[in-house]
């Protein structure tokens, strides 16, 4: 079951940008698109672990800063010729507050 944790207000994430959430076990990147959609991925590129939070966000994808893999924010999957997938975490926004769903499953894959 999801365990909704309030993280940060929407305003504090730059549009087309991200913030990094540090948990006990890993970093999570929380992205905000131009349309104020919010997505969260484990902050590690499926290629060589590059910090996706530091990439350029466009549409609903992010380009990894290390070798330019393009990752779909919704599914965590690499777009284009590359294959790989970053872990996705559920998010929701209520009254301007962003919640992150950290569940048992995500703890496992972490």
């Amino acid at each position: 079951m999801s365990n909704w944790t309030p993280i940060i207000t929407l305003e504090e994430i730059p549009q087309l940008g991200s913030r990094v959430i540090t948990t006990d076990t890993m970093n999570v990147a929380v992205f905000r698109t131009a349309k104020d959609e919010v997505f969260a991925l484990r902050d590690a590129c499926p290629h060589k672990g590059g910090p996706l939070s530091q990439g350029i966000v466009h549409g609903t994808s992010v380009t990894c800063p290390l070798h330019n893999w393009k990752i779909d924010l919704a599914s965590g999957e690499a777009l284009g010729p590359d294959e790989g997938c970053a872990n996705v975490f559920p998010t929701k926004v209520e009254d301007g507050m962003v919640f992150l769903g950290l569940n048992d499953q995500s703890a496992d894959v972490a």
Partner: protein
């Protein structure tokens, strides 16, 4: 002697091409009649895609107008299909009951789009993509309706979908399999293609099987096998073609999948020949024009009673005609057991190339993003060339690595004369060069008219232009070869820069709106470029967009492989004091810097800094008097100096002092690419000024100014710009040169390729011969520096963009 009667059934590409070939051999032998079901003269069916996309008009694609038929004495019947052939009487009948006799007959009936026979397939608004009538139906739908579905993610389907999107429709492509264009592409290339098309707004439903077309009279939706439904106002079925053999079958001509012909293009009835998509030759039915042209040649040869040509089948290659997408595929691109594959992937450039190699011969090729060498690979494939001698560099293409800037032309020059350039028309490089030289051709249109190269699908246009350029050299008036900036637009860098200036566009949204960008917020390639262009053009007004900068420029440090950053404080002219070094040592202790190094740019690099620590570290450095070294930016980097007159026994001028002045003038400036300077105190050139973007070599009588040098990947020695007498002049020329580069170069183009592209002379014309222009460039540079020389480190130490450097801590559940 009375002429024999030749009747051609099918007024399309293969039939009429056969007549053109025949006329090269004889014009006297036959009295010719052509009968076509369509109401039009012969047109270029391939170009229906660009017509649909609005890139061409119908009148542009007519291959043979009605005058042509008249001039050649051809009796033309259009809009009246043949319905019956009576082979015993050698007679045929049309729908409008015309009866004609023939001595020889040529069947060129092409093929029909396959319409999946699901319930509802005959509703209004369900069509194929084959002829002008289909295109007209689609254009009408686009102006009256919103939604379209294209069934079939192959070549035709994607071209149809692309066209409908261009016409403003909301288009979903439904594909049965999980890979687009599976007959031409492997999975990685197909994924790249899909991603690019998605960026252009195309939607996909993969692995979806159509079960029923919904609606009353007109289609209003589709139901799939899994029960899901989608709304739509138009359905284009592009799931394949079937040779059009009904007429032949009914008249008892042997058919299997197509009309069966032998190597002389004769059917089982020796009086009846057949060419084009309707034929089956050695068990293969073709669906592209290149093989049809070969068939046409052979058929013409036999119709002219010369009787020596044989058609022995074709190997085909494919390109997709969607503007902005470079894609090439040929041969067996799926490896079998025992095959080797050579793969090159450059995700940053969006390039993917794969060659399938068996016994040192290329068996197949798939290329995406950079297809210039497709022709070469295709030639190696067809010739069965042994590639072992160059297989370790084969993926980099055929061009000569020792030359900067002339990439495409050199690659073309390296092609042998029998390399095929135009796959559609089978025109080799040698044919094109010959026509250019012998007939004195200067334009692309001339070459098209004389050789037919690039006149069918047009995807070899770039190659033909390069051949023109390398054959006629300076005399060639290039139709500006337009390479789109990225997949988000069809506009080139120059067009974008021009629009920003002329239309006074001052925000990224304004640029994207005005130039009709295909994506709402661009991509990782165009956003940094636009941000730079706007900044360079409107230094006083434009508000820099941090989210459009690559992380290095956003975080003002080089990101390293482990996600930490490096810090390189500026040391003007490479000079430093004991206090400077002490301050750096203290900072290094305080933040546990794991490694320090003296860089090639004469300053000190502190590696392995955590992002969160950057602002505090910068604060300490800032208090000790340092500013950012911009070692991370597409920006002015360093000024390298040598010891110079103060100490060195050979020094002629104060090279360190001048270096400091140059660095004070130029630091902080954003550039199209990195920009490096150096000042050497004498021609021994210890500061290596002749491989810098701007280099100064001091001599007894003054200063030599050098431009356009590059160390790095491809070394280029500078060009000498001029010699000046005073330091003030050095500064002015330097500022003016930089500003010209900042205003005119394409983003990510360093001075070396830029100088080669625009030519040294154009730069000299402005900087040397036009003092006023030089001065105004220099003034513009100084103006922009007022806004650029704000130390980004200090600003961030004081809290600017604070969110960038702060993480949020939570305890995981």
């Amino acid at each position: 002697m009375s002429k024999e009667k030749l009747v051609v059934i099918g007024n399309g590409m293969a039939g009429i091409r056969t007549l053109e070939e025949l006329f090269k051999l004889t014009t006297e032998q036959y009295e010719i009649t052509v009968i076509g079901a369509e109401p039009h003269p012969n047109y270029n069916r391939i170009m229906l895609s660009p017509v649909l996309a609005g890139e061409k008009q119908l009148e542009d694609i007519i291959l043979n107008d009605r005058d042509w038929y008249e001039e050649n004495g051809i009796n033309l019947l259009t809009g009246d299909p043949v319905v019956k052939i009576d082979r015993a009487r050698q007679q045929l009948t049309t729908e409008k009951d015309e009866v004609l006799e023939y001595d020889r007959l040529l069947l060129a009936t092409g093929s029909n789009p396959f319409i999946i026979p699901v319930p509802g397939h005959d509703k209004e608004g369900v069509i194929g993509f084959r002829d002008i009538a289909d295109v007209e139906t689609m254009l009408a739908a686009a102006s009256n309706y919103k939604k379209a579905v294209v069934i079939g993610g192959g070549l035709l389907g994607l071209e149809a979908a692309n066209g409908l999107i261009k016409k403003g429709m909301d288009v979903t492509v439904v594909h049965l399999l999980d890979t687009l264009m599976e007959r031409q592409l492997d999975k990685p290339a197909a994924n790249l293609l899909k991603a690019t098309l998605e960026e252009q707004g195309m939607k996909f439903m993969m692995e979806a099987q159509t079960a029923e077309i919904l609606g009353d009279e007109r289609v209003n939706g589709i139901r799939f096998a899994d029960g899901s439904e989608i709304e739509t106002d138009l359905v284009v079925m592009a799931v394949g073609i079937r040779p059009n053999i009904a007429l032949a079958q009914e008249s008892g001509i042997h058919c299997e999948n197509g009309i069966v012909v032998n190597d002389t293009m004769q059917s089982y009835d020796p009086k009846i020949y057949s060419v084009g998509e309707c034929v089956q030759h050695r068990n293969i039915c073709y669906g592209l024009v290149a093989p049809l042209w070969e068939q046409a040649k052979v058929a013409a040869n036999h119709l002219a009673n010369i009787g020596i040509g044989r058609y022995e089948g074709s190997v085909t290659s494919t390109k997709l005609k969607v503007t902005g997408i470079d894609l090439f595929s040929a041969g067996e691109f799926h490896e079998q057991e025992g095959d080797e594959t050579l793969v090159l992937r450059d995700p940053a450039m969006g390039v993917y190339k794969k060659l399938v190699v068996r016994d040192n011969q290329i068996k197949g090729a798939v290329m995406y993003g950079d297809t210039l060498d497709g022709t070469w690979y295709f030639q190696l494939l067809r010739d069965g060339t042994d590639i072992s001698a160059f297989r370790n560099t084969i993926l980099f293409g055929q061009h000569d690595l020792g030359d900067a800037g002339h990439g495409d032309e050199t690659r073309i020059a390296a092609l042998s004369n029998d390399a095929e350039i135009c796959g559609c028309n089978g025109v080799c490089k040698g044919d094109i060069v010959d026509s250019i030289v012998k007939k004195g051709l200067f334009t692309l249109d001339d070459v098209r008219a004389h050789t037919k190269a690039s006149s069918s699908c047009g995807s070899c246009t770039g190659l033909v232009e390069s051949i023109l350029a390398s054959t006629v050299g300076e005399g060639y008036s290039a139709t500006p070869s337009k390479k789109p900036m990225c997949g988000c637009t069809e506009h080139s860098h120059d067009e974008v820069i021009g629009a920003i200036r002329q239309q006074k566009l001052k925000s990224m949204d304004a640029v994207r709106d005005f130039l009709e960008w295909k994506t709402p917020d661009g991509c990782a390639a165009c956003r940094p470029a636009l941000n730079y262009y706007l900044l360079a053009n409107w230094p006083e007004e434009y508000q820099d967009d941090a989210q459009s900068r690559f992380i290095n420029e956003r975080a003002h440090g080089n990101i390293q492989k482990d996600g930490t950053y490096s810090v390189v404080p500026r040391m003007f002219g490479g000079l430093c004091t004991a206090n400077d070094l002490r301050a750096i040592a203290d900072v290094s202790d305080k933040y546990n810097v794991p490694e320090m190094k003296v860089t090639g740019g004469q300053r000190i690099d502190l590696f392995g800094i955590k992002k969160e620590d950057l602002p505090a570290m910068w604060k300490d450095l800032s208090e000790a008097g340092f500013v950012s070294g911009h070692a991370y930016g597409k920006a002015m980097r360093t000024v390298k100096t040598c010891a110079g007159k103060t100490w060195c026994r050979f020094g002629t001028q104060n090279s360190t002092g001048l270096g400091v002045k140059l660095e004070e003038l130029t630091w902080g400036s954003w550039m199209p690419h990195k920009f490096k300077l150096a000042v050497s105190g004498c021609p021994r050139n210890c500061a290596e000024a002749t491989i810098k973007d701007f280099g100064v070599v001091c001599v007894d009588s003054g200063y030599e100014l050098h431009i356009g040098g590059n160390g790095g990947i491809k070394v280029r020695v500078t060009d000498l710009l001029c010699k000046v007498d005073t330091e003030e002049e050095v500064l002015e020329y330097c500022g003016a040169f930089i500003q010209k580069y900042r205003e005119e170069a394409h983003y990510l183009e360093r001075t070396a390729p830029w100088v080669e592209r625009v030519g040294l002379q154009t730069i000299k014309d402005v900087l040397l011969d036009d003092a006023e222009m030089r001065k105004s460039l220099y003034d513009r540079f100084k103006l922009s520096q007022q806004y650029a020389q704000i130390d980004p480190w200090k600003a961030r130490a004081e809290g600017e963009q604070g969110h960038e450097f702060k993480n949020i801590q939570i305890s995981a559940a």
